[in-house]
Amino acid sequence: MVPMKYLFVIFSIILLIYMFWPGPGKIFDFPALPNSAKSNLEGDTIQIPNVSAYFSNNYRDFAVWFYSQHYQENTFFFLPPLRLNHPPEYSWIAIKRHTDSTYLEELIYPLRDSLYINGLELFNPDKTPKFWGVIPFEVDGKLWDTKVTLRFYPSSFWARFLVWTGISVSILFLYRLGRKILL
């Protein structure tokens, strides 16, 4: 039987490698959606860090799949990011205030960083309007059905290092105290 301390050391090393594995550092590491127009509206450019938005005719399934692929490629990792589905109203917190939303998903590598994908789809894929009185987005004379807003939440080296140290130390203390209390 492998002693617990070896399992702990192996776990800590794997966690360390995972947490410090290179990956995207800013929103510009993610490409624009295909056949899209980048939004230059206030709040979509420099006012809020790591935000960008695209008008296009790409719907949810494609947009989330597209960024999941690129996130995985940017991270050079063999597993895709986890995909979390959030309530659309959370977009005010995750993206920025007054962000209209019909879906909000998060792609995440836990303990590293995450990418929120907020979609505003006014039309169904068959071009029928979803809501009363909607009109397509008009950007430079072109009409688009959807707007996708991205916000990337990176984390610093030091934050990861301290969290990794904290997790390792906590596990160690939990194990020792757990043995004392439970046995």
Binding site: W132, V163, I167, L174, L177, I181
Partner: protein, 471 residues
Amino acid sequence: MKELCLKINSLLFWPILFLFVFIPIYPKFPLLNVSGTFVAVRLEDIFIAIVIAAWFISIILSGKIKEFLESKINQVIILFLGIGLLSLFSAIFLTHTSSLHLGLLHWLRRLEFILLLPVIASVVKTKKQLYIILLTLSLVLLIVNIYAFGQQHLDWPVVSTTNSEFAKGLILRLTPDARVNATFAGHYDFAAFLAMAFCLMVPLFFAVKKRFKLWILGLGVVSSVVLVMTSARVSFVAAIFGIITALLLTGKKKFLLLLFIILLVILIYPSNLRNRLVSTVTVNLLKQWDSYQGKTDDQKKRAKLNIPTLAIKTSSTSAQTSTFASGSALPTDITPGEPVDTTELGVYRSFSIRLNIEWPRAILAFIKNPFLGTGYSSLGIATDNDLLRSLGEVGILGTAAFALVLIAVSKRIWRIYKESVGFIRYFSAGVLSLILAFLFNSLFIDVFEASKVASLFWMVLGLTLATKNFR
């Protein structure tokens, strides 16, 4: 100096006795508001902080800090608080799910509640002090029960924190269908307090002299009526569960029959509690209710949407579609698909909020950071399930540390129960059943974060641990 500190330590008994009175009795008036939340700093927080600070200084100056740190229970409490801080750091700098001031506020609340355990365990030193505290608690129980009757029948003021507006300290009155909360935040924590009281009263009834038996019996009857008035299903079941455990631990199995007869009477006698319990079965378990269908074609169309109030293309004017049930006996905010019966509607919403919003939010937070969660305050005010809340806020590490605190304390109390006789044995049996009832309650209510009951929980546990050192 050392003697002076020990003197201060023993004098702390009186402030602690004061806390046993003040925490349950003083209404939830805010003292200092904190931006971004309607959780406020209250007078009781200041008093608790003063007591904890005085106690901490006294154990440092008296050289007892080493003894304090050697205790397994104190070590695991420190670990739990340390992991809470680490989780907060991770929430601010890694997952970006919590702000510093809100996260710190909620961490300090945990610190405040849980530190009452070692404080009381080290300050209470004699059986006489235990008796004084228990007698005082019984008077407090009587006072809050009388106050609850006053709210229901004499229009006495209500101070509640069940929503952001109420939490400003507004003086309210109970509406005909509202549920009593006495001096607590809402009916839910008041009922949890009553459930705790039952767990202590039942075993102590068998341990005291005849005149005190009558006192406990009277308190039990009054508390039963008030518990029914709160209509709190979970705490009612928790109280029954706690009483059964207490009877089994004290070897009074024949009283189980009496309990079932009382239970039957409560369930037969018409009350809002009975209706809510029945609705729990019909609505939550059997999924049977008469649905509101909407009055117009538009409303029927909306009934098929996930969010029936969304603006969709309709043929009628907005004024007709904005209100679903105006002019009828139905609640004005009822939406198609919901039960038309008011009690069933309340039960339906109570469970739907947990199942569709609060619990999934906590599960998402846990997935996001399984080790440390997304930090204190990241799940908002309530999750209505303390296990999920803990996993979501402080992850598997924080939850494991918290579980270890409970296990360590429970094991110590179990040992006290096994090794003691007479009054202390009955008291520790009551506290063991209280822990189980509290844990049961925590599956549907955030009792470990409800300030009044959480503080009292750790205080009673500390009181039990103190019996080990009685002179």
